[in-house]
Every structure is written in structure tokens, then in C-alpha cells.
């Protein structure tokens, strides 16, 4: 008799609501002594249900520093945005931070890319400064000078 013939399994459903400790994002479950698994062999993940309740533009991905004559930081309020609303918010922030030029921006549903325009002026997104997650979100690659 091979070992596979001697195995049995139990299905365990764990909800972070019923955690012993930790948080709903990082739950720790403790089994009662009678439910402890001994001679554990293997585990199969059958299913996972995760509510899409996180903010895609979170505090990690919501800012980028821009040099456009003066230096300012664009910080987008955390939340979920569609691309057009995100561009609008970025442009609003740029116009608030830039003391000289007027910014415009568009999102192309065809190319799925963002275009930012500082009128006649140039600008740089300082991706080496701080957390530049927003730069990645909007499709940036490396440090850019317009």
C-alpha cells in the first residue's frame, strides 16, 4: 500500500472574520486541540474569495515629485479612479503646484496611455525621489524629461 492510499483529507474554510489574532489582512487562525492536524502531508487550495475593497491608488502609489521650474509633489487622494479621472486629478495637482505653466492631460482609450503637457515648458518626474509609485501606475518607465 503506497502512502497515497493512506491519506485522508478535511476541507477547511477560513474567514478572516474568525481569526484568532492579527488583522483581516493578516489573519492568524488557531485550531482547537481536537482539530489540530497531525501527520500533515499536503494542502490544496480549493478557493479564495477576496473583496476588491482595496484602493488601487493607495498611499504607496499616489505620489510623484515633479520638477517644472519649481519642485512640487503630486499627491493623489487615495481611492479608485478610472484613467480619465486620474489624469484630471493629476493635472489639477500639477496646476496647483506649478507656479508658472498651465498643464493639460489626456488619456487615450485606444493606446491606454496618458499624455501630460506643460504648455511651452518642460518637466521632469523625479522617479529617484521618494516613493514614485504613481509614476508606475500611469505607465512611466525610467526617469523622464519631457
Amino acid at each position: 500500500m503506497c502512502i497515497k492510499d493512506r491519506l485522508l483529507y478535511k476541507t477547511v474554510n477560513l474567514n478572516s472574520r474568525h481569526r484568532h489574532s492579527g488583522t483581516n489582512n493578516k489573519p492568524l487562525f488557531k485550531f482547537r486541540s481536537k482539530d489540530t492536524f497531525k501527520f500533515l502531508h499536503s494542502v490544496r487550495v480549493k478557493s479564495i474569495e477576496i473583496p476588491f475593497s482595496w484602493y488601487h491608488i493607495s498611499s504607496r502609489y499616489n505620489s510623484v515629485e515633479i520638477t517644472a521650474g519649481n519642485v512640487f509633489t503630486v499627491t493623489i487622494p487615495v481611492g479608485n479612479y478610472n484613467p480619465t479621472d486620474l489624469v484630471t486629478e493629476i493635472v489639477t495637482q500639477c496646476n496647483a503646484g506649478d507656479t508658472v505653466a498651465t498643464w493639460t492631460g489626456t488619456y487615450s482609450a485606444v493606446t491606454m496611455k496618458i499624455t501630460l503637457d506643460r504648455g511651452a515648458g518642460t518637466f521632469t518626474m523625479n522617479t529617484t525621489v521618494g516613493d514614485f509609485g504613481l509614476f508606475e501606475i500611469i505607465g512611466g518607465a525610467d526617469m523622464h524629461t519631457s
Binding site: L14, I48, E49, S53, G139, A141
Partner: protein
């Protein structure tokens, strides 16, 4: 004027589910849903042996990401006694996933030796014969 060289990423492509207690020793090499290794972030995640599942995000916000594995394969774990289980969720870039107070669930099939068969031989097979 600047046009983004890459497309806008409005939603994460996938979530990774981690567990320090469950370390699937054959996950990285054999799991069909493993991190591909493309891109610098993915490359980092390949090295994490506590990634137990990569869940594709195929819904928009305010919906529920539901992943049901149709695979029958089980993954051997490095422990023989399971008293507690921990999990944590990260986005594709390795950042903690903040569900803003909502809860999530996971269903596992936990395989163990039938107690009627005793455990000595099982332990010998698992640890002496080289599974671990």
C-alpha cells in the same frame, strides 16, 4: 509633452497569498499558477517560498475576486503538525493589500495520514526518504 511609454495600470493584475506556516516545497517549480518571473517584481516573488497562491484579479472594484482551483494537485508542506495558520495578502508589487476593513476567506483541502495507519512509517517516508 510627455506620453507614457507603458500603458496605464489601473488595477493590479494579481494578488499573492502568503503563509509562513504553509511552505509549499514544490510550489515554485511545479505550480502552474506560479509567478512567471517576468519583470523585476515578479523575479523577487519567485524567491519567496511562502507564496501559496497567485490569484488573478479579473473583476473591477466593489466586486469579489473569486478564485477556484480546478487542479487536483496537492502540494506537500514542510511541517507535519498544524496547530495554526497565518496568511497575508500582497499586491503584484509586494505591497500589503489593505482591504479597508472587509474580510476574505480561503478554503483548503488538508491532507493527512489516516490515524488508523499510525505515523512512524509516514514520518520515515516523508523525511528520511527525501521528500524533505
Amino acid at each position: 509633452m510627455w506620453t507614457s511609454p507603458n500603458v496605464v495600470q489601473m488595477v493590479p493584475r494579481y494578488i499573492t497569498v502568503h503563509s509562513n506556516k504553509l511552505s509549499f516545497q514544490n510550489w515554485l517549480s511545479e505550480h502552474p499558477n506560479k509567478v512567471s518571473g517576468s519583470g523585476s517584481n515578479a523575479k523577487n516573488e519567485v524567491g519567496k517560498d511562502n507564496v501559496i497562491m497567485k490569484v488573478p484579479v479579473d473583476v473591477s472594484s466593489n466586486n469579489v475576486v473569486i478564485y477556484s482551483s480546478e487542479l487536483e494537485e496537492k502540494y506537500e508542506v514542510q511541517i507535519t503538525l498544524l496547530k495554526e495558520l497565518d496568511f497575508y495578502l500582497e499586491d503584484q508589487n509586494g505591497a500589503d493589500l489593505d482591504l479597508n476593513g472587509l474580510n476574505w476567506s480561503i478554503t483548503l483541502e488538508v491532507w493527512q495520514l489516516n490515524p488508523n495507519f499510525g505515523g512512524d512509517e509516514f514520518l520515515k517516508e516523508k523525511f528520511v526518504k527525501g521528500i524533505k
